[in-house]
């Protein structure tokens, strides 16, 4: 890219994107409905009980699961804990500052928590009712922020959870201590694997998998989360829809997400 094109992009991002859209292509060369490549690498972090590194185009997320033992809540003696959080450190983009989680990170963590809640039954995390349960800390960190972090983070969290094993634990009623076996371990019982697909609307054009450059220019964003049976898990649309002929934005997104889910399902461990 020439210097003058770069300067034009910095100074007039909207006009820059408009010119590309008028030519039916996006700044990175993708057609409007194309997705960036996904790569998933699991189990590379030995200090975590399960881990995954996910790249969605340039967006990079590492996720690690740490297991700990706690006493369950008094009102839910047969429920473990699943604690997902995402961190967007100052490292990943110039738009973040060091310090406590940004608004964006808080919203992302909350949405991820909502989706993950349906994937694991908390009663499968019990070691001894009302005495000891497993806590799964699922922490994702963004290493490179190039848009659509929610989709990438959900893939990373699910892959890390699938990579996690729980050691066989026994609770000693007399001492009140839990001991774990070094050899016997079993994988987590995962009920379903939701994958999210996000879209953005720019001037009545639907863009799949928006980049960090496109995201701030979008009027509407839509995220559709679909599980392996092509059932909807969550749909979020923020901003107005567009009436473009026969189908409205939301239905177009949902059918695009469902057909992409079938394609991606085989790629993700």
């Amino acid at each position: 890219m020439g210097d003058s094109a770069k300067i034009f992009q910095r100074l007039h991002p909207r006009a820059y994107l408009e010119r590309f859209v008028a030519e039916d292509v996006r700044p990175d060369g993708r057609p409007f409905d194309a997705w960036r490549d996904v790569s998933v690498n699991v189990g590379s972090i030995s200090t975590a009980n399960g881990s995954a590194l996910v790249r969605l185009g340039e967006t990079t997320i590492v996720c690690g699961v740490k297991i700990e033992i706690a006493e369950p809540e008094l009102d839910a003696p047969e429920e473990g804990f699943l604690v997902p959080n995402i961190d967007l450190p100052a490292l990943c983009s110039p738009k973040f500052k060091p310090g406590p989680p940004s608004d964006e990170a808080q919203v992302l963590s909350d949405r991820l928590n909502e989706v993950l809640a349906s994937t694991i039954s908390l009663s499968s995390l019990v070691i001894h009712p009302s005495k000891a349960v497993w806590v799964l800390y699922v922490d994702a960190t963004c290493i490179n922020y190039d848009g659509n972090v929610f989709d990438a983070a959900l893939i990373a969290m699910m892959a890390a959870l699938r990579n996690t094993t729980l050691p066989k634990a026994t609770y000693n009623v007399e001492t009140g201590l839990t001991t774990c076996s070094r050899t016997a371990a079993s994988p987590l019982q995962i009920l379903k694997t939701p994958i999210s697909f996000s879209f953005g609307v720019f001037d009545a054009t639907l863009l799949a998998d928006p980049t960090a450059f496109e995201e701030p220019l979008l009027d509407t964003t839509v995220s559709v989360v679909v599980d392996e049976n092509n059932n909807l898990v969550s749909v979020v649309q923020s901003g107005p829809g567009v009436d473009s002929g026969a189908e409205d934005t939301l239905s177009t997104c949902i059918s695009a997400a469902k057909s992409r889910r079938v394609l991606l399902g085989g790629q993700i461990p």
Binding site: K66, A70, P89, V135, T179
Partner: protein, 256 residues
């Protein structure tokens, strides 16, 4: 454990503990020879500049289990500071919660800051800050997996210097760094967490091999003067080898 509820995160139970395992017989004790490598060997280095596309410069370093990502933003305008003739070099280190054997709750503790200070000290004399008045260079380091504090400081300094060069910031020379520990009567270079725990003392040396200048020495623990000097010599020798690794990695990324 004092635990303040942080409403900006998803919170788990008030108290939780890492699982305790039944006894393991294969413990490694003092006096045994070093596992996997000889005393003067360091862990092999994988270094890749320019992986973080949003940053001005970046580097990712992996030495066996230690994995560190580093991004450089700047030089950019200093905010909320008074006029200064010299640029400011700002180093922030963050551990991911899953980077250590024990989970690190996402609150900044003293360890992050002491590593940040050590890395700042290793780098600050190599950067030509006098050319950048009113500016700040931010170096953000995320430790994805840690295997020994000394290794993190050394690898972090190497990654940060590589990222500075990748950002095109004027340097007097590349900074490389190496750690050594005194275990029994031997000097073991680049100790892992387990080895550093058994060591009497550790030394971390950072230097600019191209100029034959040392930028920082950090010695901790109980070592004899002769041992500390021997550690420093061994580290400096390895730093020269690491320098060619860094130069090669930068050259290859510049060609693409």
């Amino acid at each position: 454990m004092a635990f303040a509820l942080d409403r900006r995160r998803i919170n788990g139970p008030e108290d939780s503990f890492p699982p305790s395992f039944d006894l393991d017989a294969s413990q490694w004790k003092l006096g045994d020879p070093r596992k996997d490598r000889s005393p003067a060997d360091i862990r092999s280095i994988f270094l890749q500049p320019g992986l973080i596309s949003q940053a001005n410069g970046s580097a990712y370093i992996e030495t066996a289990k230690t994995k560190i990502a580093c991004a450089v933003y700047g030089p950019r305008q200093s905010k909320n500071t008074t006029y200064s003739e010299m640029g400011r070099l700002n180093v922030e280190v963050k551990f991911t919660p899953f980077s250590c054997v024990r989970r690190r709750a996402p609150m900044r503790d003293a360890e992050d800051r002491s590593i940040a200070v050590a890395i700042h000290q290793a780098l600050v004399s190599s950067v030509r800050l006098e050319l950048l008045p009113k500016s700040t260079i931010d170096i953000f380091i995320t430790i994805i997996e840690s295997d020994g504090l000394e290794g993190c400081v050394a690898s972090g300094s190497v990654a940060a210097s590589t990222a500075l060069a990748d950002a095109g910031i004027e340097l007097l020379g590349l900074v490389t760094s190496c750690a050594a520990s005194v275990v029994g009567k031997e000097i073991w270079l680049d100790p892992t967490e387990e080895e550093a725990r058994l060591a009497k003392g550790t030394v971390v040396v950072a230097c600019m091999p191209a100029l034959q200048k040392i930028t920082s020495i950090w010695q901790a623990g109980e070592t004899k003067v002769a041992e500390a000097l021997a550690c420093m010599d061994a580290c400096q020798e390895k730093c020269t080898e690491i320098h060619s690794v860094v130069a090669q990695a930068l050259l290859e990324s510049a060609k693409i």
